[in-house]
């Protein structure tokens, strides 16, 4: 193994301790030390530090976190807000939820440091509502942080005040889109807003606001503690640091792997025990269902922002969903389409009507009722949806369809010649037929 592919647990370093999620456990693991350090720095120095570290947003888009903080106008006499996007819902993505369950305090500490840097006195964690135990852990962590004097008035004698409110969502994938999240947090339907103005100028309550992903904010304490150089020394040229890769699906041992950016699926699969016994890799998503699928030919693509992009997809949330040869590509595409139809907010025509139509076309194709001409129509409808919608949700909706047609067109046609799906759904389950 080359040095850059070594696992490097930072965020996940304490997850094997039974009390890693408690204030006591976190403090024992040197928690809140970075906060102390940060509060002694000037806020702008903290922003510079994060800029220097090269940390990029871990929510999917990969925008440099320090730059985002730097966009907040200073001395404008307005309230500023920090909002943590903890609404993790992209199919395949499963890193923030275990992080918050096993170590909520690292997120809280990151929130305090980030708020200090952008001069926010009120921060919010918008957590997905469908994970009650994560909500409990966050609630407790916030309560304990208040009691310990890490939140509230005059934190650590620094003169810095911060209120942190946990806001629990209620089931809407679109709220992972930052402006939809802000509308939701303001008490509206979670539908994306027109931009400009961008949240840095007019975000929550029309005030300057930073919206960051959980992993991004949770990465801050370690960067403050260990220095920008420590972080930027890991990863690749433009994709610095370590990150959580989530392997799921038809692998022997699915799970979370924290590694420097740039690791490959081949390396990760090796650690996960490979594709499940007796089967071969068929296709995979590099960063959740909204990122065009890859196949075995992409095993050595470096999983950083540039590498994945150069290979025709997106790093996204590093949600590596692995499917073996028992999986029907049409079924997979249909299910993802049903997801996007279910989660389309309804605001704009191409997404609302397009996902409705795509599901019907894919259902017909799965049932063997589609022809070559229908595939052309499907692609053309995808073309009329992609890049035409209000936000990126619809782009995500067509990604699996277009990419699966690119790699597995013949399999779509096989459904027609076969008069239905040629796959045995039981073969792709992880339990024996007998258990059904």
């Amino acid at each position: 193994m080359t040095p850059t592919t070594k696992l490097m647990p930072v965020l996940s370093a304490t997850w094997d301790q039974d009390d890693s999620f408690t204030l006591e456990g976190y403090t024992r693991n040197k928690g809140y030390a970075a906060l102390k350090k940060a509060l002694k720095m000037q806020p702008d120095e903290v922003i510079q530090l994060i800029k220097d570290s090269g940390l990029r947003g871990r929510g999917g888009a990969g925008f440099p976190t320090g730059n985002k903080w730097g966009f907040i106008p200073q001395g404008d006499g307005k309230e500023h807000y920090l909002v943590v996007n903890a609404d993790e819902s992209e199919p395949g993505t499963c890193k923030d939820v275990p992080l918050m369950m096993a170590n909520p305090h690292v997120l809280v500490e990151g929130v305090i440091i980030a708020s200090y840097a952008i001069r926010a006195n009120h921060a919010f964690i918008y957590v997905r509502g469908e994970v009650v135990h994560v909500v409990r852990r966050l609630q407790q962590a916030i309560e304990d942080a208040y009691k310990a004097g890490h939140l509230g008035k005059n934190i650590g004698g620094s003169g810095f005040d911060l209120e942190l409110t946990l806001h629990v969502g209620a089931g809407a994938y679109i709220c992972g889109e930052e402006t939809a999240l802000l509308d939701s947090l303001e008490g509206f339907r979670g539908q994306p807003r027109l931009r400009p103005p961008f949240p840095a100028i007019a975000g929550l309550y029309a005030k300057p606001t930073v919206v960051n992903n959980v992993e991004s904010i949770a990465s801050v304490p370690a960067i403050v503690a260990n220095g920008a150089e420590w972080f930027s020394s890991m990863g690749t040229e433009k994709s610095k640091g370590v990150t959580l890769y989530s392997l799921s699906g038809h692998v022997t041992h699915p799970g979370q792997f924290e590694a420097p950016l740039g690791i490959t699926l081949r390396e990760l699969l090796e650690m996960a025990g490979g594709v499940r016994a007796g089967h071969q890799l068929k296709f995979w998503t590099p960063g959740g269902s909204s990122t065009p699928i890859f196949t075995a030919e992409h095993l050595d693509v470096p999983l950083d922002y540039e590498g994945v992009s150069a290979a025709g997809s997106m790093l996204g949330t590093k949600a590596l969903q692995i499917f073996d040869e028992t999986t029907c590509i049409v079924r997979a595409a249909l299910r993802w389409s049903e997801f996007y139809k279910h989660e389309s907010c309804g605001k704009c025509t191409p997404c609302r009507e397009g996902t409705w139509w795509l599901v019907q076309m894919l259902k017909d194709l799965e049932a063997g009722k589609g022809t070559e001409a229908d595939l052309e129509k499907l692609l053309d409808v995808c073309d009329n949806i992609a890049g035409r919608s209000f936000c990126a949700l619809a782009d995500g909706a067509v990604a699996p369809i277009i990419s699966s047609l690119k790699h597995f067109r013949s399999e779509y046609i096989a459904h027609q010649t076969n008069g239905g799906c040629p796959f045995d759904p039981v073969a792709s389950t992880i339990f024996e037929k007998a258990s059904l």
Partner: protein, 774 residues
Amino acid sequence: MTPEALTEVEMITVVIDGFEVTVPKGTLVIRAAEKLGIQIPRFCDHPLLSPAGACRQCLVDIEINGRAFPKPQASCTIPVENGMIVKTQLTSPVAEKAQKGIMELLLINHPLDCPVCDKGGECPLQNQAMSNGQGVSRYEGVKRTYEKPVAISSQVLLDRERCVLCARCTRFSEEIAGDPFITLNERGALQQVGIYEKDPFQSYYSGNTVQICPVGALTGASYRFRARPFDLISVDSACEHCASGCAMRTDIRRGKTLRRLAGDDALVNQEWNCDKGRWAFKYLTSRERVAAPMVRGEDGELHETSWPEAIAAVVAGLAGKRAGVLVGGRVTREDAYGYSKFARVALKTNDIDFRARAHSVEEAEFLSSTAISLHTNYLDIDKADQVYLVDFEPEEESPIVFLRIYKQVRKRGISVSTNAPIISSGNHKLKAVRADISSVQLTEKSVILVGERAAETAGTLSAAKALAEKSGAKLAWISRRAGERAALEMGVIGNLLPGGRPVSDAAARVDMATAWGVKDLPTTAGRDTTGILKALSTDKSLGAVIVGGVDPMDISSDALTSLLDSFVVSLEISHSAVTAIADVVLPVAAVVEKRGTFVDWTGKPRSFDKAIADALTRSDVRILSMIADAMGAPINLPTVSATQREIESLGVWDGARASFTLVASSATPTVSGSEAMLYSYRQLLDLGALQMGEENLAGTARASVARISAARATALGVVDGDSVKISSQTGSVTLPVLISEIADEFIWAPRNSVDSQLIPTLGITHGSVTVVKA
């Protein structure tokens, strides 16, 4: 816009489809294109609503300074920038395909029910599907269907499967009307417009959503399935219901008014109107219309007769009697002029008054000295730092004035205060606070809006005038009805001749006598409505009266009785309390049947043409002219056009205005125990005569309630919904309670609503009453 203001706006030049256009900074691409005559298809876009970017129909290709957007942009959301090059569907194949693609997607779930849809023929979806869509759909799936139609109020029906979810209606309701009672509900493909099931779309402005719906999803119950747009003749008109001054459009088919819509006047109603203006026109076709002249026979009954006989009866009846003239608030400027001239020339009296409502000498002086020359207008509200309301409820009494104030409350957060003891639901939307007229702090940028009810409390008009003079704030007087400002200007009041000429001014009298070709004009100021009624009943110094469109119950409970001993000539649209006792009844034209002019609260003339070209009914002025001829005292106003020419020829009065005597405010009486001070006004939708026969509209009237404070409720031992009985010396009304923001010593009830007609019951509209739990 002033020239100074123009130079402040930065102008930006962009190229659209190869043509340069220069527009003010901030202009959206879609509107810059309109200036060039390039129409980009759109659904959600509306110039008066905040951009949504929802339908995506208006996608165009844009590059700025050589850098192209990677994908087509919604031209309804992008402001122009220097160096911008826009390619619409006319020059960009990408934009054209994008638009066709969106159109196909919009249509996949849209029913093909155009042949039975009210919007068919005037439907933006139908039109743009033809101009910017593709001929056939590739959709082979199942279309979304819903139960239809859903009555979201008694007057608006919703067919959800037709809806393209442009959110025009919901944005209008929230942003313009402040009534977010319809919302987008559910999500994704099931997103739909809806109400909370127990709370229907009870907005005074709901009809606008029907008008701006770009498909047939929202329809008006009273027009549904009635007509085809191509069978209608559309005529520009003006609204007769209030003094807001709305431009209107009246749609006629075979001589019958089928529909009225908001007209477009950027300086006045913009593109909106209220539901009363839109839907209260059934009175035009009511069975109660007076069909022919009628004369009361010896049997005591009215009998239809010919015009010459009726006119002769009038002349005979008036002979040897002194007569007064009472005119209601429905008159046009031309009709008002006719009454004014008729009184002075034919009847030789100044006993004329348009105030068929509570009034005072203080008010007459305020109107003739001050209100006559006020020209405060909508733009002043647009620029105001605050608005002070004096006995004026904008949403109930001049709904477009309300919209304008609300716009500025939303846009600039201007403050609104009122002298009323109550914060009504309309004023609550304006975030209004109570402020005493003697202590409110205004500036030169403030606007004082005084309602006609200010006449009901002595000293209020004096105080308002003093407040304006002290602060430099702009003053306006807003009557509730459409005809009053014109009536004032035309001298339908005892102390003024047309053009604001004081009766007391000899030069003014000479001026008018010359214009009218008479030797002289009566010199003493005329009596007001109260005085005329008294003269008819008590001292009998008048023996006859000409009544033009007056409901005596608007004046007092005994006004009708005052007419009983006199010779009464009634000029009316429909049978009424006055026609029931009149000696001669002369049918007059309703607004769609005549030409004329209303003068709105700003003093702006709102001329309109005859909508029903072949209507045979006559305007009041023509009838008055016929009577005057028959009396041998001609007023020479044979047509509305002739009247207009004569009014224009009069010129403006540049002499001194009538005088004004300050009246001190009377001390507010104190109340105790079960006593309360009654405060009331008319709700927009109530039992008003011009609203009769429109059940769907009546269904959205605000419920009749008695508003009391929480403290009074506690004292009475009542909660919301319990009944209280309000009593005066003459009678009582019983109403359900609604605990409200109202001063403890007051109680509010609607003036002329179902179960709450205060004049016939209590005999008063304000003053001391007793309130007990019913």
